[in-house]
C-alpha cells in the first residue's frame, strides 16, 4: 500500500501527461507503469482479501481475521504463504495440460486490463484511444481460463460451473457494453482518461440507469454475489476451482479479487469521475473511490441470496438488455438535444426515467417458473 502510493505520488505527478523529455522516453514510462500496474493489482488484491473478510465479519456481527499482526493485517500474506506451501493436487484422469494452464490463462487478461486505467491525470501505461473497447475485449477473455479449469478438472461440478460461466459472460457482455456505450456517448471519447476528464458531474448522476446496469452486469460477469453461480458453494461445492489446491487455487483467488478490483476501478473511472476530487491528491481520491465501490460489493455480497442460472439469463435478456437499449437511445437523443454545456436537466430527466423504467419493468417479475417437465 504505502510503497505503491509513494510511487504513485512521485511518479504520477512527474508524469503529467507524459513528458517527452523523460530519459529513455517511452521505455521508462513503460517499465515504471508496468511495475506500478502489477504492484497495484497484487497489493490491492492482498488488501481486498483482508478488507472483504474484515468488512464481512463486521457486517455479520463477527470480527473477521484479527490474529496475524495488528488487526490481522498480515493475514493475506499468511494465506499466500499457506497456499504456496500446500501440496499441489492434480486429479486422476484430469486433462493435465489444460488443468495446469487454466489459472494462468485466467489471470493474464485481468492484469492486462490495468494497462489503460488512469491512476491520475494521464498517469497510465497506455492512453489508448479505444481504451474502453480494450477493457471490454480483454476482460472477458478470463472466462476462457475458467472454462479450461472446469473442463480440465474432470469433475462434474467444475463442468457445470464452466458452462454457467460461458452462459453468464456471453449474455452479460451485451448490457454491460450497451451501458458503457451511453457513457461513451456522453463523454465523446473512448479513452478512459478522457472519460474521467469529461466528468464535471460524475456520470453516476448523469447516467444512473447505466450505472445500475453496469454494476449488475459486471458483477454477474465477474461472478460476485448475488450472481456468484460459478462458485456457488451451496450448490456446486466450489465450482470450477473445486479440484484446485495450492498455488493454482491461489491464482484463481487472485483472479477473483483482481476482477473485483477491475470492477471497482472501472466504476470509479466511468461513473465516479475517477481520480478527480477536491483537496486530496488524485491518486488518493482514486483509491478511496475504489475501496468505497468494493465496500458496496462486499455489502451486497453479505446481504443477498444467490440467483438461479435461468433467472440470471432472464435478468440479462429480459431486464437489463431492453433497459440498456432504451437508455442508450435516450442518451443519444439527449446528447443531440443539449450539445455541450452543463446539462443539468439531463440529470433529473435521467433519474426520473430510471425510476419509471425500473418500476414498470419490475411488473414483469414473476415467481415460480423454471420447472422443466420431465418424462418419466
Amino acid at each position: 500500500m504505502m510503497l505503491e502510493s509513494y510511487a504513485l505520488s512521485s511518479i504520477g505527478s512527474a508524469l503529467k501527461p507524459l513528458p517527452a523529455d523523460w530519459p529513455g522516453g517511452f521505455w521508462w514510462h513503460w517499465l515504471v507503469f508496468t511495475i506500478i500496474a502489477i504492484l497495484f493489482v497484487l497489493l490491492m488484491v492482498l488488501f481486498f482479501t483482508y478488507f472483504e473478510r474484515r468488512a464481512m465479519g463486521r457486517l455479520q456481527a463477527r470480527l473477521g481475521p484479527n490474529r496475524c499482526g495488528p488487526f490481522g493485517v498480515i493475514q493475506p500474506i499468511m494465506d499466500a504463504i499457506k497456499a504456496l506451501t500446500k501440496e499441489d493436487i492434480v486429479p486422476y484422469n484430469a486433462d493435465k495440460v489444460v488443468h495446469w494452464l487454466a489459472p494462468a490463462v485466467a489471470f493474464v487478461p485481468v492484469l492486462l486490463v490495468f494497462v489503460v486505467v488512469p491512476f491520475s491525470n494521464g498517469a497510465m501505461l497506455a492512453d489508448l484511444n479505444v481504451g474502453i473497447l480494450f477493457v471490454v475485449a480483454i476482460s472477458s477473455l478470463s472466462a476462457l481460463g475458467i472454462v479450461m479449469a472446469g473442463w480440465g478438472s474432470n469433475n462434474k461440478y467444475s463442468l457445470i460451473s464452466a458452462m454457467r460461466a460461458v452462459a453468464a459472460v456471453v449474455s452479460y457482455e451485451i448490457p454491460v457494453v450497451l451501458s458503457i456505450a451511453s457513457v461513451v456517448l456522453l463523454a465523446g471519447s473512448m479513452s478512459l482518461n478522457d472519460i474521467v476528464l469529461a466528468q464535471n458531474i460524475p456520470f453516476i448522476l448523469m447516467q444512473p440507469l447505466a450505472f445500475l446496469i453496469f454494476f449488475i452486469g459486471a458483477s454477474a460477469e465477474i461472478n460476485r454475489s448475488p450472481f456468484d453461480l460459478l462458485e456457488a458453494d451451496s450448490e456446486i461445492v466450489a465450482g470450477f476451482h473445486t479440484e484446485y489446491s495450492g498455488m493454482k487455487f491461489a491464482l484463481f483467488y487472485l483472479v477473483e479479487y483482481a476482477e473485483a478490483l477491475l470492477l471497482s476501478v472501472l466504476i470509479t473511472t466511468l461513473f465516479l469521475s475517477g481520480w478527480r476530487g477536491p483537496l486530496l491528491p488524485p491518486w488518493l481520491w482514486f483509491l478511496i473511490k475504489v475501496v468505497a465501490v468494493f465496500f458496496v460489493l462486499v455489502w451486497v455480497r453479505t446481504t443477498l441470496p444467490r440467483a438461479r442460472i435461468d433467472q440470471l439469463m432472464a435478468l440479462a435478456w429480459k431486464f437489463l438488455f431492453p433497459l440498456s437499449v432504451i437508455n442508450l437511445v435516450i442518451t443519444a437523443i439527449e446528447v443531440l438535444a443539449w450539445p455541450g454545456g452543463v446539462p443539468w436537466p439531463m440529470l433529473f430527466v435521467n433519474i426520473g426515467i430510471m425510476a419509471v423504467l425500473i418500476v414498470s419493468w419490475s411488473r414483469l417479475f414473476k415467481f415460480g417458473w423454471g420447472r422443466v417437465k420431465v418424462e418419466a
Partner: protein, 367 residues
C-alpha cells in the same frame, strides 16, 4: 426438448457443503436439470432402536438426545411422555410447565438453525445463519444453565426432570422473551421481501396438500402445504390446552411457505412461552416415583409436535427393566419421502433449496 442430451449421474453428497450432514442425493442430471433423484442415507446409522432394548428406561434418555441433535429437549420430552403414559405416571404441574418452556425454547432454537441454513443454502453468504446462531446461542445459554450442556441436554427424566430450574433462569428467560421479538422482526426485514429470495423460493418445490398427507409429512412441511395439523392443537398433550396460540399455515406448500411457517412458528412459540412463564406454578418438579424399573406389559405410542413434526415413540414393554421394542417415528425421515417428487424437474440449485427447506437432521433419519 429439441436438443438431444445425455443424462449424467451426479452424486450430491455425502460430503457436500449443503447436505446438512452425511446425506447423499444420487441425481440423474440433464444439464442443470434433475431428471431423477434417489436419496441415499444411513451413514450415521447407530442402531439407537436396538440400543434402547439394552438400556434402562431412564438410561435411554441420554441417547434420545442424539436423535435429532438440534432439538434434544423435544426428544427427551417425547420419550419421557411415552414412558409415563405406559407406566401411568402423572407428572407434577410445575414439571409440565418447565417441559413446555423447554420444548418451545427448543423449537425456536431449532427453527433458527433451520431458517438460517435454508437461507444459507439459498446463497445468502453466511449472514442470516450467523445472525440466527447468535440468537440460538442465547437459548443454548439458558439450556446450559438448567441442564449443564449445550447440545445434549439429557434434562428430562421419566417422572419429572433431572433438576429444578435454577433461580437465575426465570429473569434470563424474561429478558430473552423481551428481546427476541425484535430480532425476529429484524430477520424478516433482512430477507422476507428480498426479490432474489422470492424469485428463488416462491413456487419452487411445491408439495400439494394431498401428497403431503399421503407421504405422512408432518410439522412445518405439512403445515406449509395448507394442512392445519399440529399435535399441540389436535391432540393436546402435557398442558398445551391451556395456551392460546395459532397454527401458521402456508398457502401452496412451496419453499417460501415452509420458510414463513417456521418464522411464524417462532412467534407463536414466544407467545406460548410468555403464557407459560406467567402460569408457571411452584411445587415439586418430580413425582416421588423417580425410577420406574419394571413397567407393565403393554404397548404405547406417545407423540409430540417436535420441531420437525410428529415425533413419536412406540414402546413395547414386557415387564423387564428395558423396553422390549422402541420404535422412533422420526419426522425428518418421513418428510424426506417427499424429496424426490419435489425435486424432479428443478435445477440443481433448486434441489439444494428444496432439500434445505424440508429441514432434516441426519441423526434422526439414520437413527
Amino acid at each position: 426438448m429439441a436438443i438431444k442430451t445425455e443424462p449424467f449421474l451426479l452424486n450430491i453428497g455425502p460430503q457436500h457443503p449443503s447436505t446438512h450432514g452425511v446425506f447423499r442425493m444420487r441425481a440423474t442430471m440433464d444439464g442443470e436439470v434433475i431428471v431423477d433423484m434417489e436419496p441415499v442415507f444411513g451413514y450415521l446409522h447407530r442402531g439407537i432402536e436396538k440400543l434402547a432394548e439394552e438400556r434402562t428406561y431412564n438410561g435411554f434418555v441420554s441417547l434420545t438426545d442424539r436423535l435429532d441433535y438440534l432439538s434434544s429437549m423435544s426428544n427427551n420430552f417425547a420419550y419421557c411422555m411415552a414412558v409415563e403414559k405406559l407406566a401411568g405416571i402423572k407428572v407434577t404441574e410445575r414439571c409440565e410447565y418447565i417441559r413446555v418452556i423447554m420444548a418451545e425454547l427448543q423449537r425456536i432454537a431449532s427453527h433458527l438453525i433451520a431458517v438460517g441454513a435454508f437461507l444459507n443454502d439459498c446463497g445468502a453468504f453466511m449472514t442470516p445463519i450467523v445472525y440466527m446462531i447468535r440468537e440460538r446461542e442465547k437459548i443454548l445459554d439458558l439450556f446450559e444453565m438448567v441442564s449443564g450442556q449445550r447440545l445434549t441436554y439429557n434434562y428430562m427424566r421419566v417422572g419429572g426432570l433431572s433438576q429444578d430450574i435454577p433461580e437465575e433462569f426465570l429473569p434470563a428467560l424474561d429478558k430473552f422473551l423481551e428481546q427476541m421479538p425484535r430480532w425476529i422482526d429484524e430477520y424478516d426485514q433482512l430477507l422476507r421481501q428480498n426479490e432474489v429470495l422470492l424469485a428463488r423460493s416462491r413456487g419452487v418445490g411445491i408439495l400439494p396438500k394431498e401428497t403431503a398427507i399421503n407421504i405422512s409429512a408432518s410439522g412445518p412441511v405439512l403445515r406449509a402445504s395448507g394442512v392445519k395439523w399440529d399435535i399441540r392443537k389436535v391432540d393436546p398433550y402435557s398442558v398445551y390446552d391451556r395456551f392460546e396460540f395459532d397454527i401458521p399455515t402456508g398457502a401452496c406448500g412451496d419453499c417460501y411457505d415452509r420458510y414463513r411457517v417456521r418464522v411464524e412458528e417462532m412467534r407463536q412459540s414466544l407467545r406460548i412461552l410468555g403464557q407459560a412463564r406467567k402460569q408457571l406454578p411452584g411445587g415439586e418438579f418430580q413425582t416421588p416415583v423417580v425410577q420406574p424399573v419394571h413397567l407393565p406389559v403393554g404397548e404405547v405410542y406417545g407423540h409430540i409436535e417436535s420441531t420437525r413434526g410428529e415425533l413419536g415413540f412406540y414402546i413395547v414393554s414386557d415387564n423387564s427393566i428395558a423396553p422390549y421394542r422402541c420404535h422412533i417415528r422420526a419426522p425428518s425421515f418421513l418428510n424426506l419421502t417427499a424429496l424426490r417428487d419435489m425435486v424432479v424437474g428443478w435445477k440443481i440449485a433448486d434441489a439444494i433449496l428444496i432439500f434445505g427447506s424440508i429441514d432434516i437432521v441426519m441423526g434422526e433419519i439414520d437413527r
